[in-house]
């Protein structure tokens, strides 16, 4: 039969603009959070991570913000480029005795218009 997938949240931005992708996580015991980028037909590609003892971490053109009070994570991409078009997943992990398991969020599809 026909499979029905989730309808991903989408974000469409103009090339050169900044993008903000949001994620709510579920487990207050999670210690470690990661953003992955997934292009069509490929595996998740690591972008940036953050530990729970931090609230902000910057990389090259990307910044991750963590708000533990409301269990919210965001990814900011500066000067978005067409090559940034992909699905972005947040993942949470780092819970002790869970064998390194990551729990992925639903994903947001970023579309960059040239």
């Amino acid at each position: 039969g026909e499979s029905v997938g989730l309808h991903l949240p989408t974000l469409s931005v103009q090339e050169g603009d900044n993008s903000i992708i949001n994620c709510a996580y579920s487990n207050s015991a999670s210690d470690y959070f990661i953003w992955y980028k997934q292009e069509s037909g490929k595996g998740p590609q690591f972008i940036i991570d953050i530990r729970s003892n931090m609230d902000k971490r910057q990389g090259q053109r990307v910044t991750v913000l963590l708000n533990k009070t409301v269990k919210h994570l965001s990814l900011q991409i500066a000067a978005t480029q067409p090559g940034d078009s992909a699905v972005y997943f947040c993942a949470e992990g780092g819970v002790r005795n869970q064998g390194g398991k990551l729990i992925f969020g639903q994903g947001t599809e970023l579309s960059v218009k040239p």
Partner: protein, 116 residues
């Protein structure tokens, strides 16, 4: 840059058949994982493996699934008797340390399994 490699990239199998998906993790990594992603859905954890033992497994990873590190480089996922709902992209991943240390988990490009 070191990478996780997976074979085959795509496999079509008949329902009830056994399938083995193969992975070569990054060479100095000690922790290995399998995840799957049903078309259009989010990535789901299946199992983690360290020191020749399963560290953690999800409810998806039932008796039909098994993992093995048959030699010093390969890490395999076996599905004993495939079902239609096993159709998905299966990702192998590895990390140098356990995830709680805040280290990076690297994913392979995936093996797309189609059960007919």
């Amino acid at each position: 840059e070191p990478e996780v490699t997976q074979t085959p990239s795509h496999q079509v199998t008949q329902m009830g058949q056994e399938v083995i998906l193969r992975c070569v993790p990054i060479s100095n990594h000690l922790y290995f994982y399998w995840y799957r992603q049903i078309l259009g859905q989010k990535v789901e954890f299946l199992v983690s493996f360290y020191n020749n033992e399963i560290s953690e497994k999800s409810e998806i990873f039932d008796d039909q699934f098994s993992v093995e590190r048959p030699d010093g480089s390969n890490f395999t996922l076996k599905i004993r008797s495939t079902k239609l709902e096993d159709s998905a992209m299966y990702f192998c991943a590895s990390s140098e340390f356990l995830g709680i240390s805040g280290n990076t988990i690297y994913f392979g490009e995936g093996s797309w399994l189609t059960v007919v």
